[in-house]
Amino acid sequence: MNYDVLKEYTDALSPSGCEGNIRDVIKSKVQNFGDIVVDSMGNLMVHKKGSGKRVMIAAHMDEVGFIVTSICKDGRIKFGTVGGIDPRILVSKRVVFVKNNLLGVIGVKPIHLQDREERGKPIPKKDLFIDIGATSKEEAEKYVKLGDFAAFESEYIDLGETIKAKALDDRIGCFLLTKLLKDDYDFDLYGAFTAQEEVGSRGAGVAAYRIKPDVAIAIEGTTCADIAKDEKDFVTTLGDGPAISLMDRTSSASGKLLKMIINTAEENKIPYQFRRGIVGGNDAGRISRAREGCLTCTISVPTRYIHSPISMIKKKDFENTLKLIKLVLKNIEKGEF
């Protein structure tokens, strides 16, 4: 399978609230597949007309990132995080500003200047800053303004069996949805590339309100905690196939839909796993409760190290997830659901 489009998707710089870059790239790939709407939240929706039943597939376009909150006299840039980022991973990372591709680094006091106590502790976010090489506030302001967005800067690398890139949560979902939209179905298929998931699924609720789905599937790049010490604490395992969500903080999978998805996987011998644990939330939450409600489920590609500059997926997992969702859609088409 060719992954060039995924590279284009993960290379796009689009933290929550400024999804313009990724939206333009996606739009160029999907515009011939159906009717396109971009709403006021910035959601991109593709409608493939069918006869009646409304099926919504959602993947979010946004990624975690940074926003400029103040610029110091000496030209250092203070920032806030957009979406959930562990401050301990920020030290010495490269970031890139969305509006001008300007590079910066998240600087830190070198080891020589830290006392023994400081060395043993993670550096709190309030002591971190982005350095763009400016030596004064005036100089920094020539390039960066308050409220400007930045994203992690990181290279897409194809490692053969695996792919390493930033923002696989959820560009892998966008890539998958793009592939799904190529096929034709009897029902009304709505592909929703949503905005602002990382800050509370704000786009998804609005999209679902417009689409009025009967059934919806959210596609995610989900936590893969197979590096935890104890297997019972794993959320998903890389390489074990699509991760089917049972419940999280925002919704639980419809029992009926879940059963059909599991049967589909088992009948077709597609490996699958459950997403264990109920932490986190995603677009399915808002979608399930939009208007009079709809049945939802989330299927994810297990992704290691999400919400950091490097995330990692196995191609095999992606391909099995794609295969499973295609078959699930075929079953919905056959009226098995």
Binding site: D214, E231, K232, D233, L246, M247, T250, S251, S252, S254, G255, L258, F274, R276, G277, I278, G285, S288, R289, R291, E292, G293, C294, L295
Partner: protein, 328 residues
């Protein structure tokens, strides 16, 4: 009492409320004009009135429980909570799966009770291996806490009184309701304990002018407890506010006046933590005038909860009169 016993014995953790719904539909069918279950599983039953005004009254069908998240090679089940579950309250209690399989909630031996978290607990269903356990339950299966149903004087203890007692009250109100002025929508919601999503979607569909939510509340009358004005046996608790809603003063006043008019024993409820379906209903669409009548209840969210049937009777009377007389 037989109906309440049946309702509390039904299996209905959030998202899997079918058993409860079947009982309710059977009971209220003869007393309402229209009845349907919507996509998420809410029951919406309409008893027509004489005006075009719409009242929604709701109680949730779901109960708290646990969900299997992992099966160990020795056959022990690890689990996660469905709704708010206190690890201390469930330790060494019995859980029951839909297929009848039961198990004991136990803790890792070396974990101190005072530091107990849900992840330190496991369920022992008597299986000797992962394979044996998997022949009985699967990851993703839900279970509820097994409980007794016991009448002691006027008081009942049982599991799942949160909120089957509310369902019972709505059923009774539907049976007694006569000459209601407005259209009354008896709404039995799903998934209150987890996401209050059933209330959100049913309120959207009904678009009521006014709503009365029926749910349990804590009391402040047990040894060394947090101060709270609600006392068991002191009647229907008219809600003033909780963590998710400030009741509309207009509705609060109407409930007050109705209680006084008919001599129904009542008290006021201010709940510091926790919320009900009202948190969703009152902000649905362009907003709904929402109030709530609560049933004073002890040991809420534990395997055995306790209510006083005199309070329950007061709530039924106050709800019925309110539904009959509201026409604004």
């Amino acid at each position: 009492m037989e109906l309440l016993n049946k309702l509390t014995a039904a299996f209905g953790p959030s998202g899997y409320e079918d058993e409860v719904a079947d009982i309710i539909i059977d009971e209220i069918k003869p007393y309402v004009d229209e009845i349907k279950r919507d996509r998420l599983g809410n029951i919406i039953a309409l008893k027509k009135g004489k005006t075009s005004k719409k009242i929604m009254t709701s109680a949730h069908m779901d109960q708290i429980g646990v969900m299997v998240s992992y099966i160990e090679k020795e056959g022990y089940l690890r689990f996660t909570n469905v709704g708010w579950v206190d690890p201390h309250a469930i330790l060494y209690h019995i859980v029951r799966f839909k297929n009848g399989v039961t198990g004991i909630v136990s803790k890792e031996d070396k974990k101190e009770i005072k530091d107990l978290k849900l992840k330190d607990l496991y369920i022992d269903i008597g299986a000797c291996s992962k394979e044996e356990a998997e022949s009985k339950v699967r990851i993703g299966d839900f279970a509820v806490f097994k409980s007794f149903f016991k009448l002691v004087g006027d008081r009942v203890y049982s599991g799942a009184l949160d909120d089957r007692i509310g369902c019972y009250i709505l059923i009774e109100a539907a049976k007694r309701l006569k000459d209601n002025k407005s259209d009354v929508y008896f709404t039995f919601t799903v998934q209150e304990e987890t996401y209050t999503s059933g209330a959100a979607t049913s309120a959207f569909a009904i678009e009521p002018d006014m709503a009365v939510v029926i749910d349990v509340t804590d009391t402040g009358d047990t040894p060394n407890c947090n101060a709270m004005a609600v006392k068991m046996g002191d009647g229907a608790a008219i809600k003033v506010k909780d963590g998710g809603m400030i009741c509309h003063p207009f509705i609060k006043k109407f409930l007050e006046e109705t209680a006084e008019k008919y001599g129904i024993k009542h008290q006021y409820e201010i709940l510091v933590g926790g919320a009900t379906d009202g948190s969703e209903i009152h902000v649905s669409k362009t907003g709904v005038l929402t109030g709530a009548i609560s049933i004073p209840s002890r040991y809420v969210h534990t395997p055995e909860e306790l209510v006083d049937m005199k309070d329950v009777e007061a709530v039924i009377s106050l709800l019925t009169k309110t539904l009959e007389e509201w026409e604004k």
